[in-house]
């Protein structure tokens, strides 16, 4: 019992440090400009730390390791893609966006195309992306706290949501810059140092770690459940039996039983079954049970650990994740995922708003370069956590909770080495890192959504003559309101998968804001009609695909043909070119409505500051 207090201390520490730094930052924040974009005077190192801090969300800190543990090699592309997204941002967006000099993306859309309609469309997508992205962050907080302290799901959601809302309301962005820079380094420390401790305890090098992970379900059999394992599955949760096994549900539950191809049985490939409370259900090798409702159940000792894919396909390219619609389409799936990650980063509103805090275009480039360095330093580590997780905490496979690998691994390894105290400290460090991840990303998103309400909707569309103090009040009310909405939404989505949600947000951002910014910055002939058509088509295509895929995952819609499956599960490969192509074609057709000041704006976007062309 004693050691369980240690992670609580770490989590309390990170929450208090967040509040303290936010309040300290507030004293530096005075004007509206300070409030929104930190007065544009933040140094490159701090700004890069803050951007990276804001970017590394629950999906990066917990999700990549968890997904890699589950699916293997293919997940490495996530890490590279998340980092490479900033290279694309550097190449095409960073300096011009800073030189344009506006507070928010809707400001850019409005100013670049001289159209209030553009502002409204951009506002709609900021809100859609923002709320969509906030939910999985809060969900991560809920399940982590539930795991660590056995608290109900809503406690973590409300705690993290509430702390961040208070910080944003009182501090604005100046407070946040400090907080986020600090939390970035907390995350970097947490993903790196405990890993070194664990590796020195297990005594495995890089190659040996991978070989050990590969051997699970490869040359060695998948381990059997050593004692009865009780776990919770959300609706849609699956148990894939790799040998005959027994599961006992606590409550009556409906499920679908499917049979892997090749299994010999007279029963049809897929049928509905009802499991009765307390009655053992025998499943045969190759059978897969998908629960229609959330359920707690016990897997009997002796059953081979379910849901573990074989070691060979785990360690090879084009495995279970990318070949989910068949090996033929695995390359297409990977490429489309990469398009979403590379282009999506450059379309995230909460990241883009940070570029206004650089003093000039060149320093915007320099801080983006530093972000590429910082993210690279971070993203080499999650894979090692995932590989170690496969060897040391296979019990997480049972109900698909591999996202918790980074919390469970230190506990398990250190307990086996006879030092549970050290294990508790490491779990504390990892929990602090996880909380830093939820809080930074959530606060950045809340900031961008709330400033969209206060700045774009209230100050620019509703009351253009509102005074600064009225705008600040509007911002604070918006921040509190948006946090409350996000908390309510997050309470409804306990059963959805974090990683899938975040990957889909990238696809939506890549199909809407990335094309707008790319074309807005480089194509002088862009017209409002072209930009709107492209964004709406890209947005409709990507959001429609995402919703369709969610319905398929939940079993509401029928599974599509494999090619359609790939193109809706990872839509970026067609939605991004569609949006860009439509922007180009429609702009050509509506040539006469190119904004009159387009040339001047191009000059403002691209001319170096030293020429003194800007009034600032």
């Amino acid at each position: 019992m004693g050691t369980q207090v240690i992670p609580v201390i770490f989590v309390t520490g990170i929450v208090l440090a967040t509040i303290g730094l936010g309040m300290y930052g507030t004293r530096l924040s005075r004007t509206t400009s300070d409030f929104y974009v930190a007065g544009r005077g933040v140094g490159a190192f701090w700004n890069s730390s803050a951007i990276t801090g804001e970017y590394l969300s629950a999906a990066s800190f917990m999700g990549i390791a968890g997904m890699l543990m589950k699916y293997g090699y293919d997940v490495l592309w996530y890490a590279v893609g998340y980092s490479a997204g900033f290279l694309v941002l550097l190449l095409f967006i960073a300096a011009p966006l800073r030189r344009f000099g506006a507070y928010t993306i809707p400001d850019f859309a409005h100013g670049r195309l001289d159209s209030i309609g553009m502002r409204k469309v951009a506002v709609a997508f900021v809100l859609a992306i923002g709320f969509f992205y906030m939910m999985p962050q809060l969900k991560g907080a809920g399940i982590t706290l539930a795991q660590l302290f056995g608290s109900p799901y809503w406690v973590g959601v409300v705690l993290v949501g509430g702390v961040v809302a208070v910080n944003v309301v009182i501090g604005g962005m100046k407070g946040l810059t400090l907080v986020q820079a600090f939390q970035h380094w907390v995350k970097q420390f947490a993903i790196m140092v405990p890993l070194f401790v664990i590796v020195s305890v297990t005594g495995t090098g890089v190659g040996a770690t991978l070989t050990a992970a590969e051997r699970v379900g490869g040359t060695d059999p998948v381990p059997a459940v050593s004692q009865d394992l009780t776990a919770h599955w959300p609706a849609g949760g699956a148990v894939a039996f790799t040998s005959d096994g027994t599961i006992v549900p606590r409550t009556d539950t409906r499920a679908t039983l499917t049979r892997a191809p090749g299994a010999t049985s007279p029963s049809p490939a897929s049928r509905r079954v009802t499991l009765s409370a307390g009655t053992p259900f025998r499943a045969a090798k190759g059978e897969r049970l998908v629960f229609a409702e959330s359920v707690s159940a016990t897997i009997r000792a002796g059953t081979t650990m379910p849901n573990v894919i074989d070691g060979r396909s785990w360690s090879r390219p084009f495995g279970a994740m990318t070949a989910r619609f068949g090996d033929r389409y695995a390359l297409l799936y990977t490429v489309s995922l990469l398009v979403a990650l590379l282009c999506g980063t450059a379309g995230l509103p909460h990241i883009l708003v940070r570029f206004y805090t650089n003093p000039d275009g060149r320093r915007a480039r320099l801080s983006t370069l530093m972000v590429v360095v910082f993210t690279s330093l971070f993203y080499v580590f999650p894979a090692a956590w995932g590989a170690l997780g496969r060897t040391f905490v296979p019990s997480l496979y049972a109900n698909g909770s591999t996202d918790l690998a980074i919390l469970k691994l230190p506990e398990q390894v250190m307990a086996a080495a006879g030092s549970p105290l050290a294990g508790a400290v490491l779990v504390g460090v990892m929990s602090a890192g996880a909380f830093a991840a939820f809080m930074t990303t959530f606060s950045g998103l809340l900031m961008s959504v709330a400033s969209t309400f206060a700045h774009d909707i209230y100050a620019r569309i509703m009351h253009p003559k509102a005074r600064a103090s009225a705008r600040l009040t509007a911002f604070q009310i918006a921040a509190a309101g948006c946090a409350a909405i996000a908390i309510c939404l997050a309470l409804l989505i306990e059963e959805f998968d974090i990683n899938l949600l975040v990957g889909w947000v990238f696809a939506i951002a890549a199909s809407t804001f990335f094309p707008l910014l790319l074309m807005g910055v480089w194509h002088r002939g862009l017209t409002p009609a072209g930009a709107v058509t492209g964004m709406l088509a890209g947005g409709a295509g990507s959001i429609g695909s995402v919703i369709y895929s969610m319905l398929v995952e939940l079993g509401v819609a029928a599974a599509p043909a494999p090619l359609i499956g790939v193109l809706t599960h990872q839509p970026a490969i067609w939605t991004v070119p569609l949006a860009i192509g439509l922007m180009f074609a429609v702009s050509r057709a509506t040539r006469s409505s190119v904004p009159a000041n387009a040339r001047l704006i191009m000059l403002r976007l691209h001319a170096p500051e030293q020429l003194g062309l800007r009034p600032e």
Partner: protein, 112 residues
């Protein structure tokens, strides 16, 4: 560059946008080529990519480790080149066409 350019003229903005976009596209092409090469090797030369170096297959080295220095290297090259080009662009401008400056500002044409 023979005669200097009017900062508000058609030619200056065209040179500025073309050169910068050309540079960005070249670096992006290198990125796509690097990622594409790994993807295609994974698909069509799996035995090469599963060769082990120091215990780790080439496929893991390239994506899990090697990709990151490549990203940083490309970013560095772009940062240098784009900065150099901007200095060059400042030198192309006819100073007489620039807007007037405050008395304490350094002369724009002489920066760096």
């Amino acid at each position: 560059m023979g005669s200097k350019l009017d900062v508000h003229g058609e030619e200056f903005i065209r040179v500025l946008v073309r050169r910068q976009l050309g540079l960005s596209c070249s670096v992006a092409a290198l990125l796509v080529a690097a990622l594409g090469a790994v993807l295609l090797m994974n698909r069509f030369q799996p035995s090469v990519m599963s060769t082990r170096l120091l215990g780790l297959p080439v496929s893991w080295w390239t994506v899990g480790v090697g990709a990151f220095p490549v990203l940083v290297g490309l970013a560095w090259v772009y940062l240098r080149r784009s900065g150099d080009f901007e200095d060059e662009a400042i030198g192309m401008v006819d100073i007489a066409t620039l807007p007037p400056r405050e008395a304490n500002g350094s002369h724009p044409g002489k920066v760096r």
